[in-house]
Amino acid sequence: MSALIEIENLSFQYPVGGAQPIQALRGISLRIENGEYVALIGANGSGKTTLARHLNALLLPSVGSVRVNGMDTRDPRHRQRIRSIVGMVMQYPEDQIVATGVEEDVAFGPENLGLPVGEIRRRIEESLKAVGMWELRHRPPYLLSAGQIQRVALAGILALRPRCIVFDEATSMLDPLGRRTVLSLIDQLHREGITIITVTHFMNEAARAGRVVVLHQGQVVMDDVPEKVFSHVQELEEIGLGLPATVQTARALRAVLLDLPDRLLRVDDLIQALPTYPGGRAVKAELSSPKSTSPLGQPALVEVHGLEHTYLLDTPLAQRALEGVNFYVSDGSAHGILGSTGSGKSTLLQHLNGLLLPQSGQVRVGNFLLHHRDTDLQAVRCFAGLVFQFPETQFFEQYVGDEIAYGLRLLKRTKERIRTDVRWAMEIVGLDFERYKDRLTFTLSGGESRKVALASILALRPRLLLLDEPLAGLDPLSRHDLLIKLKGLQREGMTVILSSHHMEEVAELTDELTVFHQGRDVLRGGVREVFDRVDELRTLGLEPPVAVRVAAALRQRGWVLPPGLIRPQELADQVARLQMGSHHESV
C-alpha cells in the first residue's frame, strides 16, 4: 500500500518580478504514512510553510512531485479530492473565517463539496461538538476570542472529514489557554487515527510529535523521533533552533541528578522521573533565595490608579476593557504584563503613551499626568515609546534608514542629529549602520525587521519602552538574540514594560510582574514570587515556566528548595547545593 503523502525530489521557487526567483525548497523527499504525527520545524524562511502548502495542492512543485493517496497534486481533476483528504489550519485565526456566522463557516467546505443539506447539518454538529464550540454556534465570529476562532477554523476542516490535517503555526497567535486547548485537540485527533502534520516555532510543541522533520534553507537536514532530534544541541543551534524548555531543564538537572533518565520530552514525564530527596533531614539554615536583581523600592516611574476603559462607549457594542486597574512600575525595572487574550494588557499599554486617554482614574507616566486634558501628548509619546505586535507590518518606507528616521523627521530634527540618532538606535539593536541603512525594508528577515521596528522607536530616545508581544512569530535564535538586546537596554537604565504569552521569555527578561484577568489586575509582585503561585496562575489560564513547575514537584518530594527558582540553571545549582548538604550529613 502506498503512503498517505509521498514527496519525491520536490523543488520550488517563488518567482520574483525582474529578479532571480527565490529558491524555497530544494530536492525534498519525504513519505508520511497514515496515522503519523509529524512536526515540521525550521528557522524563519527555511521553507516550512511553503512545504506545508504543497501537501494540499495550494502550491504546485516546480520540480519533482507530491502525491496524496497516490494522486498527483498537479492533476487538476484530483484537486477537490486532495483538499478533502488533507485539510489545513492556518496561522492567523480570523483570516480563515469566510462567513459571518459560526455554523455557516463550518458549512462552507461541505457546501463546496456539494453535499446534501441533511449531511451538512450532521457534519456541522459533529465537528463543532468535537472542538467544543457547539454551545457558541450562534455567536458572531467577531465576539469570539482568537483561540475560539481557531477552534471554529478547525471545525470547518473537520467537517470535510479529512484523513490528514496540517496545522501551519496554528497556535502562534493564541494565549496559553487557547494553545493548550488546541494542542490537546490535536492529540485527540491523532488518537482517533487522523494524520497530523504541524508546523511550529515552538520546540515544546514539536516535542509532542512522533517524528520531527527539520528544514534548513529548503532542505531536510534531520528526520527522526524527537528524542533523537533534540539531542543534537549544537546542530540545532547552528540553524537557528533551540531546545524545548523541558529538555533544557532536564539537561541542566541531569548534570547534578545523574540518575535522571535521558530523553525526557514532556513536563509530566520529567516530573514523574524526579527523585525524592536522598538526605533525611532538611538543612533549613542554608536556605537562601537567589539574589533578586529587581530594583523594587525604586520610585515609581509609572503609576496608575483606578483606571477604567470601555471601548465603543455609548454604542450597543460597548465592551469593558479595564475595570479599576492599579498598576505601578519602578524606575529602571523590566516589568512583565501577563494575562489571556482580552484581559486588558494592550489597552493598558496604550494608556501609558497617551494613545488612549483615561475615561476615569489617574495615569502618571514620568512627570506627565495623562488624566489632565492639557498634557502634551506628543511629548508623552516621545517619553514612552510603544512597539506594537508585528510592527514590521506597519513599514511604509522603502529603505531601512528612512523607516527609522521617520519619527525624527516629524520632530523636525536637524540632518546631523537625525543621522546620529538613527546610527545610535541601529547599533543598540545590533544592526550595522553602513550595511543596513540602504537595505530595502521588504528584503529583511523576520528577526531583522523586528529589530528595525524596535530601532525606529528607540531613535526617539524614549525613557520608557512599551512592548506588545515583542517576540511573537520569531524563530528561537532571533527570539534569544532580541531578548539579549532588550536586557541590554534595561541595564543602560531604560524602563521596559512588555506583555507576553510566553512564560519562559518573561522569566528571562523581567523582574516584576502584573497579571491581568478580565480587565482587572489580579496578581502583582516580583517575578519570582508571582511565578511561585502555580495554582493561582493555572486558574487564570496561565502556565508557569517549566523550571518553576519542576521546582514545585521537587519540593513535594522533600527537597527543601528556596522559593523563586524560575530558570533551569538556578534550579540545578540549588539541587546541587542540597545534594552536597545531604552528603556532608551522611558522612
Binding site: Q80, T100, E111, Q394, F396, L408
Partner: protein
C-alpha cells in the same frame, strides 16, 4: 470620544433576534418588502402619505417586537443635519407660487405655507427612510441577507452572470469592513507613537495629505496580505465558484410570505397614490 476608534464609524446594523412573526418570514419576503417600502417612501410626494407610512412603520416595529424608543434612537445622530436641511427648505424656498399663502417675509427671506410643508415633508421622509432601514437591519441578519440575495439573484445565473461569485464578494466585503477599520486604527496608533500628529488640523493641505501615505501603504499591504490568506483558506476548503455546490440554508416560501409581500406591496402602492 476617542480619536482612534475607527470601528465606531462602521455600523453594520444591529440584528435583533426577537423571533417575531416578521423574523420568521422567508428572508426573501423580508428583503422584497423592505425594497418596496423604500421605493415608495422615496417616490411619494404627499405629506399625508408619509404620515400614513409613519403609522404603518410603527405598527411593523410593534409586530417585530422592537421597542419604539430603541428604533427612534437611530434618528438622533442625523437629526441636527436633517433639521438644518428642513430649516433651509423652509426659509429659502426658491419660487413662491401665486396660490401660496405667505406667512412671513423679511427682506429676501420668506416663509410660506408651501415651504413650511416642504420642510415637514423632508423631515418626515428621511425619518421614515431611516426607520425602514433600521427595521430591515433589526429583522434581517447579514447571513440571511446574503443567502436571500443569492436566491433572489439566482435567475441571473442562467443568463450567465456569476451570482455566487457576486454574493461571495458581498459576504467577504462585510467580513472585511470591520477588519479594515481595526487595521487602520492600529496603524494610526503605531504612527502616532512614532510622533505623527493624528487628528491635528495643523499644516497645509499637502502636508496633511502626506501624513496619510504612512497610513495607506501599510493598510493596503496588510489588506492584500489578508485577502491572500483568506483566498488560500477558501481554496483549501475546496472553494470553486464554478463547480456545483449546495447551501446550508433551505428557504421555504409559504402562503404567509406571499401574503406579507402582497400586503406590503399594496400598502406601498397606496402611499404612491394618495
Amino acid at each position: 470620544m476617542n480619536q482612534f476608534e475607527f470601528l465606531r464609524y462602521v455600523n453594520l446594523g444591529q440584528y435583533l433576534p426577537t423571533n417575531s412573526w416578521i423574523h420568521r418570514l422567508d428572508v426573501r419576503a423580508r428583503i422584497l418588502a423592505a425594497v418596496f417600502l423604500l421605493l415608495s417612501l422615496t417616490l411619494t410626494g404627499r405629506p399625508v402619505a408619509l404620515v400614513i407610512a409613519m403609522f404603518g412603520l410603527l405598527a411593523l416595529l410593534s409586530l417585530a417586537r422592537i421597542p419604539w424608543a430603541y428604533a427612534f434612537r437611530n434618528l438622533l445622530p442625523p437629526l441636527p443635519f436633517l433639521l438644518l436641511l428642513a430649516v433651509l427648505q423652509v426659509f429659502f424656498n426658491p419660487r413662491p407660487v401665486d396660490t401660496d399663502i405667505l406667512i412671513f417675509r423679511w427682506h429676501w427671506i420668506s416663509v410660506s405655507m408651501m415651504s413650511l410643508l416642504a420642510g415637514v415633508t423632508l423631515l418626515l421622509r428621511f425619518s421614515a427612510l431611516i426607520l425602514t432601514l433600521s427595521l430591515a437591519t433589526y429583522c434581517i441578519s447579514t447571513s440571511e441577507m446574503i443567502h436571500g440575495l443569492e436566491s433572489l439573484l439566482s435567475p441571473l445565473q442562467r443568463v450567465g452572470i456569476p451570482t455566487r461569485m457576486f454574493v461571495m464578494m458581498i459576504q467577504v466585503m462585510l467580513r472585511f469592513l470591520p477588519f479594515l477599520a481595526l487595521a487602520a486604527e492600529r496603524i494610526a496608533k503605531a504612527q502616532a507613537s512614532r510622533g505623527a500628529q493624528w487628528g491635528s488640523r495643523r499644516g497645509s493641505l499637502i502636508q496633511r495629505a502626506r501624513q496619510v501615505v504612512p497610513l495607506l501603504v501599510p493598510l493596503f499591504l496588510t489588506g492584500l496580505h489578508r485577502a491572500e490568506n483568506l483566498a488560500l483558506a477558501m481554496e483549501a476548503r475546496g472553494y470553486d465558484s464554478e463547480s456545483p455546490h449546495t447551501s446550508l440554508f433551505v428557504m421555504h416560501f409559504s402562503w404567509r410570505d406571499a401574503t406579507a409581500i402582497i400586503m406590503v406591496f399594496v400598502f406601498s402602492l397606496a402611499l404612491l397614490l394618495v
